[in-house]
């Protein structure tokens, strides 16, 4: 049995805005084992980033972790005091952000930004930290690392900056690396290189990884297990092959139908799912996916389904489940869902298309 590294239990993170409470993370539970790669997928605005920021207790104002536990090797992150959380960040768990162009300090040398990630903690002496900067940059394949370490971020390309961010993340040999859409802001060819690099690092270092993405292809190539999030909740979870082979939640099924080809990764907006994810300050009653679900039944509109066991290590939050949908209904659903190309041709807001074809 694998050892659990991180266990998130019934996490609720909310934003207290002037327009009401936004339930960004609404009862999320998930776990990551030592050395494991977990994919977290879902469309934009489903609470992936806020879940990750909650784990590091970096939720921006006016957001707050309202309830739940985040156990890292058994210690509750939510209850840590200032010194404990400071020592936890970047040391036990490191995070790589979506936009490498804005995530590095523009007026500080790259090397120094990596070095301070180490000097902030006790794992390495200041001398070791200095020499490790070059090692790390070499490891993430930054050419002529010694001279490039003295560069400022504006002298690095986007891909190089993301490599530097990864080097920074790996600096203290964390047990868990959270990567929040690490390739979304990059060019297609650079994306492939970064994915290749992360794959390799995970193999070489055995660092557990939580990979946040809305790109199913990326999950398939990097992850062992996957958590599908919708409207601040986990709607399906299971081993990657199983989820890809037999998704049980209609949302997962829709996501998989919209897998972009790798060569199209830059345009991987999930236009093929009709409609938009709900406004999390005012979510629909019942199943949060019901306004967009092709297989909706009456019960879905009033009562929210629980996460139920649907296979070995696989759970899903649905009253119907894909295996109970008839072939004919699946075919009809495929017909009515709009293709990426068609949606782009129409140049109309996707939400409008959803209501029109839905009525």
């Amino acid at each position: 049995m694998a050892q659990t590294l991180l266990q998130v239990e019934d996490l609720h993170t909310q934003f207290f805005t002037s327009r009401g409470v936004v339930r960004a993370v609404d009862g999320v539970s998930l776990h990551i084992d030592v050395g494991e790669t977990l994919g977290v997928v879902g469309e934009s605005g489903c609470g992936k980033t806020i879940t990750a920021l909650s784990i590091l207790r970096l939720v921006p104002d006016p957001g707050k972790i309202v309830s739940g536990r985040i156990l890292f090797r058994g210690n509750d992150v939510v209850k840590m005091d200032d010194d404990e959380i400071r020592d936890f960040r970047g040391n036990d768990v490191a995070m790589i952000f979506q936009d490498p162009m804005t995530s590095l300090n523009p007026v500080t040398r790259i090397g120094s930004q990596i070095e301070e990630a180490m000097t902030a903690h006790k794992r390495f002496t200041p001398e070791q930290a200095k020499s490790r900067v070059i090692e790390l940059l070499t490891r993430v394949r930054v050419p002529s690392a010694e001279t490039r370490a003295k560069d400022y971020p504006h002298q690095f390309s986007g891909g190089m900056r993301q490599r530097a961010m990864i080097a920074m993340g790996l600096a203290n040999e964390p047990s868990l690396l959270i990567a929040d859409e690490p390739t979304t802001a990059l060019d297609v060819t650079v994306q492939a290189q970064i994915i290749q690099l992360m794959k390799q690092l995970n193999r070489e270092l055995g660092t557990a990884m939580m990979l946040i993405t809305h790109n199913m292809a990326l999950v398939a190539s990097l992850c062992q297990r996957v958590v599908v999030m919708y409207a601040g909740r986990v709607v399906e979870e299971g081993p990657v092959e199983q989820i890809f082979k037999s998704p049980q939640h209609p949302y997962t099924w829709s996501l998989l139908r919209s897998v972009p080809r790798v060569d199209e990764a830059r345009k991987d907006r999930l236009v093929s799912i009709k409609g938009l994810p709900p406004d999390l300050s005012n979510p629909p009653p019942g199943c949060k996916f019901h306004p967009r679900c092709p297989f909706v039944i009456d019960r879905c509109r009033v009562e929210e389904p629980p996460l139920g066991e649907v296979g070995p290590d696989q759970v899903a939050r649905c009253w119907v489940l894909m295996r109970n949908v008839s072939e004919g209904d699946v075919a009809t659903a495929k017909q009515s869902s709009i293709s990426v190309a068609a949606a782009e041709n129409l140049k109309a807001p996707v939400a409008d298309i959803g209501t029109k074809s839905g009525s």
Partner: protein, 340 residues
């Protein structure tokens, strides 16, 4: 460890090493070019001032000695100072003299050179300006940072309330108020044992009120700018990265927030310094300080053409140098800046 390697904390040596030979070369080139640019700038300043002076009503001899001079005397004076010549010739002569560092004789103080009069005023104006500047930087920046880090708390509200109030009162009102409170009333309340002097100016405790009066507006301005810039920086992605590394709050604030948020503040300090030195004319008039500012005001009142031109040239050079210093500083504090 390599011996003699600059310390991690030593900001300047590390920065200087960023200036490669070619960057040092371009910096020197840049400074020389900017200094050469001052020549046409000063020329146009002279031209425009000259035009404005001669467009304005009145002549230097209107009120000399408090009564109207006879036409014959005025004519003699005009001949003596070359004012009978065509204006373009006057201009040519003036520029020619300036090229030889001769700024002429004052009209209102007989026998005194403009250079001499300005030299007499400089110690006062410079002392005022430098002292005010020394107060403004730490107080303005400090208040701004404090307000930003304690956003929407009482500290923030009080600081910004003060800044808004200070920015909305004109200099002379603040100066006059201070004289009333700290000199007149204070002297009365304490039976003349403690009060701030307001007459017979000297470079001693007479400086307190003028310096504060002069500094108040730039402090308010600097504090507001610092606060806005710091709040803007705190929201940036790289600040989240800094927190995610597990840095202490002190390091996050100093190494990441301030190093970025103070860049726009530094760029305004040049104009602020120029404002202090050139803009002290109101304060000098209110507190009766014999500085260049007051000399400029009296020169304008009495149409003392050479004095007006001399002070204007000095002011324009100070402004140009202040801006040059800022641009060079910029290169050191922001690695993204390229010299144009």
């Amino acid at each position: 460890m390599i011996a003699g390697r600059p310390n991690r904390g030593a900001l300047l040596p590390a920065r200087l090493s960023a200036l490669t030979d070619s960057r040092v070369g371009s910096l020197v080139f840049f400074i020389i070019r900017r200094i050469l640019w001052m020549i046409p700038i000063v020329f146009f300043v002279i031209l425009i001032t000259f035009l404005l002076m001669h467009l304005a009503q009145g002549s230097p001899w209107d009120k000399a000695g408090g009564r109207q001079l006879s036409a014959a005397v005025v004519n003699n004076l005009n001949i003596k100072y070359g004012l009978n010549k065509p204006e373009y010739q006057q201009f040519e002569l003036y520029v020619w003299n300036v090229l030889h560092f001769d700024f002429g004789l004052s009209y209102q103080y007989e026998g005194k050179t403009v250079t001499g009069l300005i030299a007499e005023g400089i110690p006062y104006t410079a002392t005022l300006g430098v002292l005010a500047f020394i107060i403004i930087v730490p107080v303005g920046v400090g208040l701004g940072v404090l307000a930003a880090l304690r956003q929407n708390t009482r500290v923030d509200y009080i600081t910004m309330g003060f800044a808004t109030a200070a920015a909305s009162f004109p200099n002379f009102v603040i100066g006059a108020l201070m004289v009333v409170v700290f000199s007149v009333l204070m002297a009365k309340w304490t039976q003349h044992s403690f009060f701030l002097p307001a007459a017979d100016f000297g470079l001693d405790d007479h400086l307190i009120m003028p310096v504060i009066t002069l500094a108040l507006l730039p402090i308010a301005y600097t504090a507001r700018l610092t606060r806005a810039s710091t709040l803007d920086t705190i929201r940036q992605d790289f600040i989240r990265t800094a927190w995610a590394k597990g840095l202490t709050e002190r390091l996050v604030v100093i190494k990441h927030v301030l190093k970025n948020s103070l860049i726009p503040v530094v760029t305004t300090l040049g104009p602020t310094f120029a404002f202090l030195v050139t803009g002290s004319l109101i304060v000098e008039t209110v507190f009766n300080i014999p500085g260049i500012g007051r000399a400029f005001v009296t020169a304008v009142e009495s149409r003392d053409y050479p004095m007006i031109l001399g002070t204007t040239i000095l002011f324009s050079i100070i402004i140009a140098i202040a801006n040059l210093v800022v641009d060079v500083t910029y290169v050191f504090i922001d690695p993204r800046v390229r010299l144009a």
